[in-house]
Amino acid sequence: MAHAELEELAVKATGGDLAAVEELVVGFHDHLFAFLYLLGVRDADVDDVAQEVTVEIYRSLARYEPDQPFLPWMRAVARNVTSKHWRSKRRRREHMTRFRELVEERLEAGPVAEATEGFAVGALRTCMERLQQRQKRVLDLRYRDGMDSSRIAETLGMTSSGVRTVLARVRDALKSCVESARGAGAT
């Protein structure tokens, strides 16, 4: 969904149009989850946090300014809710690895936020459908079933490094597919 559409829906939703609220949530779902993962929210918590963010956005819609870009606003709300989540759960330190800190630094500095902003979420879903069966299977095990490369390797009878190579290739293929879709005007 184009960013302008999100803004238009947010304005409609402000007026109490529930169908627009629903479309808005469908439209920002992927952006929100991707952002929460980047912030380091874990799989086990991400649904609850995302629901809280979405409720908070719904409650705050009255304050949404029509000219305001929607996604940065959504991310600000998501940051606030996520901070509260960490404060209440005291979980952050437990899983804040050095790598996650590095990602957060990149996020603060801007480049990751920029890359996320411009990411064509709709195109990614289409591109995933076009993968070969084997690539899809590896991707499913990694993301849908949350397995790491050694468990995927056990399941598929491969080596861990072989699985990681396949994953890296799948990422490359998806990246170029998404970029070409964006080049063709898809969002």
Binding site: D30, Q51, F119, Q133, Y143, R171
Partner: protein, 541 residues
Amino acid sequence: MVTGEFRDLVEKCLEGSATAEEMERVEDAVASDPACAAWLDGAVTLDGHLRAATRDRSSFVLKFMERITHGTHRAAFAVRAVRRLRKERVGARRVRRRASGFVVALATAAVLLAAVYVGGAFDTPEQASTVAELTSVRGTVNVANGKDIRQIRRTALVRPGHRVVTEEDAEAILRYPDGSTLTLGERTALTLADRVTAKEMMLRKGTIVADVAPQPADAPMSITTTTAAMTVLGTKFTLSFDALMSPSLATRLEVESGRVDISTIGGTRSVTVATGQYAIAGSGFELEARPLKLDMTGFRLTFDEEFDDLSVTSRGPNGPGGSRWIAHTPYWGDYGEARFADPHPGYPFTTDHGMLRIQARRDERGTWSTGFLSSVDTKGRGFAQAYGYFECRMRLPGGKATWPAFWIKGGEELRRKDGPLRTVPVYVIAEHHGAEGNRIHTEWQVYTPEGPGPKMDVSHAVPDVTDDFHTYGCLVEPDRVSWYYDRTELRSVPAPDGNDEPKYILVNLAMGGGWPLDDDTPDPAHMFVDYVKVYALPDVE
């Protein structure tokens, strides 16, 4: 430089299996090499979006919508929706009287509910607050009460606050003491309101067929979805709430007998849907009551292809002295993952007892080919008609990556690589992605000299496409375009620009459409077409 080793380390970091030392190496590489830093930014962004895209978006959205439209929010919506309906239908003075009457009714119901709740301490909970009985359960049917979920084998008593959920191929009948029944189709979720009255409910997804006994005027049955609110005083109707316009949800109401008031939630429109009518409420749809069935009185047959034999050439000419169909698109270029084959005896088209078979198959080199029919050739010779009813009776192949379609297209832009000189429309009467099961797409789009113009693609759940033959039709009138499945209207829109352009017919079994062709794709795949017919409108042509 982004080495294979660096990529492997990042992969390990992303999946959480990297050691502290490995993370440090990634950190060092990112700090010292901008290429590594840029690569990492792309990798973490894609990783986040991949995780997001593999989540069940519709469950999340439904859960959220239920949250904001349930409990106090939901009751307020129901009250507002009913008030709005009444307000629009009667004068301001009567509205005040009725609204206050409604508040009294609510207050009375609340008192009754409180009495029932207190009484609950003495009776068994089932006796105290049962509102309906779940009977004739087939397949997997669950009743949920908060987090407590139990599977129902035969019958169950259902109380306020319960949610009834049917799974694939399942069905259940909810029977009320007054004789009203609600039949829940497969993959349906219905929540009974947890306050005020037993006959307030929310259809979260799926289909219900309702046969409602006459209701008291001041306490009608009320059903809401996230896009519509309905008040029912006694009638037979079918209600489905579905991803009608993917990805957003819409409510479709079909009334067999009686009347149902339907109102858009949060919007301002409401209509009464009477016997033999239907309405759709959802983003992108105009809420209006329309006839459910097509009335063919006065229509005159102008094109009759029964496929007793097939007159087809590779590229024409079509028309008098030539063939009736060509086997490629008449505009610029074919499409899909399988090439459209030049016709030869026995392939890709065969006719048998008035039935056309189009075959898609893979040859020994692994190349797919299939069949395509167009009623005009590249110079526009052949059959085209501006207005009328275009219908095809067919059985579709199903299976991954099959992509059959019956569609009509304005003919002006034939063979022009740069697009049309005038605005022309395309109406996809039925397009089927085999992997989607019993769903078909209807679509309109206009092409302007400046490029592709507005469009609207709608995905409809239908009873069947692959087991039996069904008719798929499109009624093109000067001011409206309407789509039909077995002559039941699926949807209708005001005619888009360029609607007066004569339209030619396309019937094809394309392959692909977003799905890869692989070992799960049926080989060969067959599409059967019984006939293609076009009628002129009464009194117009």
